[in-house]
């Protein structure tokens, strides 16, 4: 609750506190700077300038800049309300405590612990390439352990091996003595030109997992896969999508798998609904790519490519991702069937921009990843 005060320092401190609740990372330095710049008579001349000054002092990203005006107005409204009686506030508190809809944990637990609903069973029957027999593994501790063990090997393969090796470079790095001596053999023991070497940088990973209806049979396994990935590789970012894209890195980082699931369920509204790969990827490119894509990022797409959206949008987004990432690896659960061909619309639209297409549908298939040339 905000207490009203007319003193400017108090006001700024309250305002900063209010902004902090909305993900603005502000410390004492920012508060001090804001106050220092407000000491200018020229700025206090009009209300627009006052607001603009605070905006340029307290916003540190584009998102914050776009949000600022709204928050600024809201803050003043709350300040006005703070003058009213406390009874009103109490009433509001009561209203806030209204019963919330409990998250559908049971539904998620059902499929997690293999109580397949009829829907998914039917879907499997209907699906052109049925996943019969491959998904009946019991989700006990040993399975999770196995997933952890294998995912760790995958990670070793994509990340660590690279970072231990030295590579020749024109840029500045450690002096490569062996190469330098060879290069300068002609100059009579005098080392004039130096050779340098650097270590390859650590690799980051982004996982995008499809959790639409058509993927329902594998979602449980994929969640385990992602959970293990996050636990074993700190520098990985995770997203799930069906009709929309959700950033779930924070949610999946919980202590136990069931806790992670609980948090993901709270966040993802359209679990096992339709698929819009194009829109979701487009969202990823627009909002997250500048943060998570670089020439040191490996992208994993976990999807069967069944899509109801615009295939044009898929190829556009995939092209943009492919251009900016180090490698795009598509893991398709349907590929286990030797008859399978990338013919569905979504898959064929994405094909030109995939560096590596591999099957992944159960624990055993992770071994395939370990063997593959990642």
């Amino acid at each position: 609750m905000i207490h009203r005060s007319l003193n400017i320092p108090d006001l700024i401190v309250t305002f900063c506190r209010y902004l902090r609740q909305h993900d603005y990372q502000l410390g004492a330095t920012e508060e001090r700077d804001a106050l220092l710049s407000l000491a200018d008579k020229d700025i206090l001349r009009s209300e627009e300038r006052f607001a603009l000054c605070l905006k340029s002092q307290l916003c540190k990203s584009r998102r914050q800049i776009t949000q600022f005006n709204l928050l600024y107005d809201q803050f003043w409204k709350e300040m006005d309300r703070a003058t009213d009686s406390k009874i009103k506030d109490r009433e509001e508190e009561k209203q806030e405590q209204a019963p919330r809809r409990p998250p559908p944990i049971q539904e998620i637990k059902d499929w997690l612990y293999n109580n397949e609903s009829n829907d998914t069973y039917e879907l499997a029957q209907e699906s052109a390439i049925s996943a019969k027999g491959t998904n009946k593994v019991h989700p006990d501790e040993t399975e999770l352990k196995e997933v952890f063990y294998l995912v760790n090997q995958v990670i070793q393969k994509i990340a660590n091996r690279r970072s231990r090796r030295y590579e020749y470079t024109n840029k500045r790095g450690t002096i490569d003595i062996r190469k330098s001596i060879r290069k300068n053999l002609l100059s009579n023991d005098e080392i004039i030109n130096l050779s340098r070497k650097v270590k390859k940088k650590n690799i980051k990973v982004v996982l995008l997992c499809d959790v639409s209806k058509s993927m329902d049979l594998y979602s449980r396994f994929f969640i385990q896969f992602m959970y293990a990935f996050k636990k074993l590789m700190h520098q990985s970012e995770l997203f799930v999508f069906s009709t929309r894209l959700y950033h779930i890195t924070e949610e999946i980082s919980a202590d136990t798998l069931s806790k992670s699931l609980e948090q993901i369920t709270k966040k993802v509204d359209d679990w096992a609904s339709g698929t819009r790969i194009g829109e979701s990827l487009d969202h990823f490119v627009k909002d997250y790519s500048h943060r998570y894509l670089s020439s040191k990022t490996v992208i994993f797409m976990l999807s069967d490519g069944w899509d109801t959206g615009d295939p044009e949008l898929i190829s556009e987004s995939m092209a943009s991702i492919h251009k900016r990432a180090m490698k795009v690896i598509w893991l398709n659960p349907l590929m286990q069937n030797p008859e399978w061909k990338p013919e569905v619309l979504g898959m064929s639209a994405a094909m030109p921009y995939i560096d590596l297409l591999l099957p992944l549908h159960n624990v055993d298939s992770i071994r395939g990843l370990v063997r593959a040339k990642l």
Partner: protein, 298 residues
Amino acid sequence: MYWKNLSDVSTQLEAKNYISTDAINMSVYLSAKLGKPLLIEGPPGVGKTEIAKVLAEIYDTELIRLQCYEGLSVEHAIYEWDYHRQLLALKLIEADSLSLTEKEGLIFDDKYLLRRPLLQSISQEKSPVLLLDELDRADEEFESFLLELLSDWQISIPEIGSIKAKTKPYVIITSNRTRELSEALRRRCMYLWLDYPTMEKEREIIKRKVPEINEALSHEICAFMQELRQMRLNKVPSIAETLDWAFALSGMHIEHLERSMVEDTLGIVLKDWKDIRTAQDSLSELFERVGVIQKLPA
């Protein structure tokens, strides 16, 4: 501080033909007042680098520019020993009967020190404008190194000791957001987001930079560009493209946008073949929205 007051900023920027907005004025004013670096983000070609150039002109000081790229190292950005000359010098004094410390002193001398932009910027008599262009392209390690420089204004060279800044430079950092800059760096800077210009601002810019242009044509060009930016393009055209187009069209003494002419010159505005095709496909629609009446083919 250089500026007298806030309105002084806009007058002086405008005098140098830089059309600014209230947000730009405020950020420039406050960053000079608090001595904080100014971090400017935005799509390519909206005038981020231009701000640094104009400010250097206004402050009447040197502009030191460091273009960042992947793999930019401390040696390229700060200092480097002139290894070859040191080696030659060592050969020359080899026979002299100097002690090891004396020889070392001779070799690690100021004249063998190659000053790179960052070291240059803190050893000037008059505060220069230091432009760190496209910092998002540099590695994260370089960014964290910058933090140290930006807070202490000193650089330590193991052989000599630390060099303290004679004067603090005015630092301007630009980024195209190909990668998110770290929270720590953001916190040390003033943040400014530059977006594509509004219709009025763009017209004003054309008027300043291409004074010979016909008023009606400049209006049509701006309206066309505004509509073009609404389309789903791979590379959205920005002010630089608008100006090139205005130059080209006014150079050909054209008074109105015409379909055939636009089709022929679309390559000036759009730099991606797919974008050109998309624009060509919806050219009639674009014209309709811009409000340009097309002549019927004879």
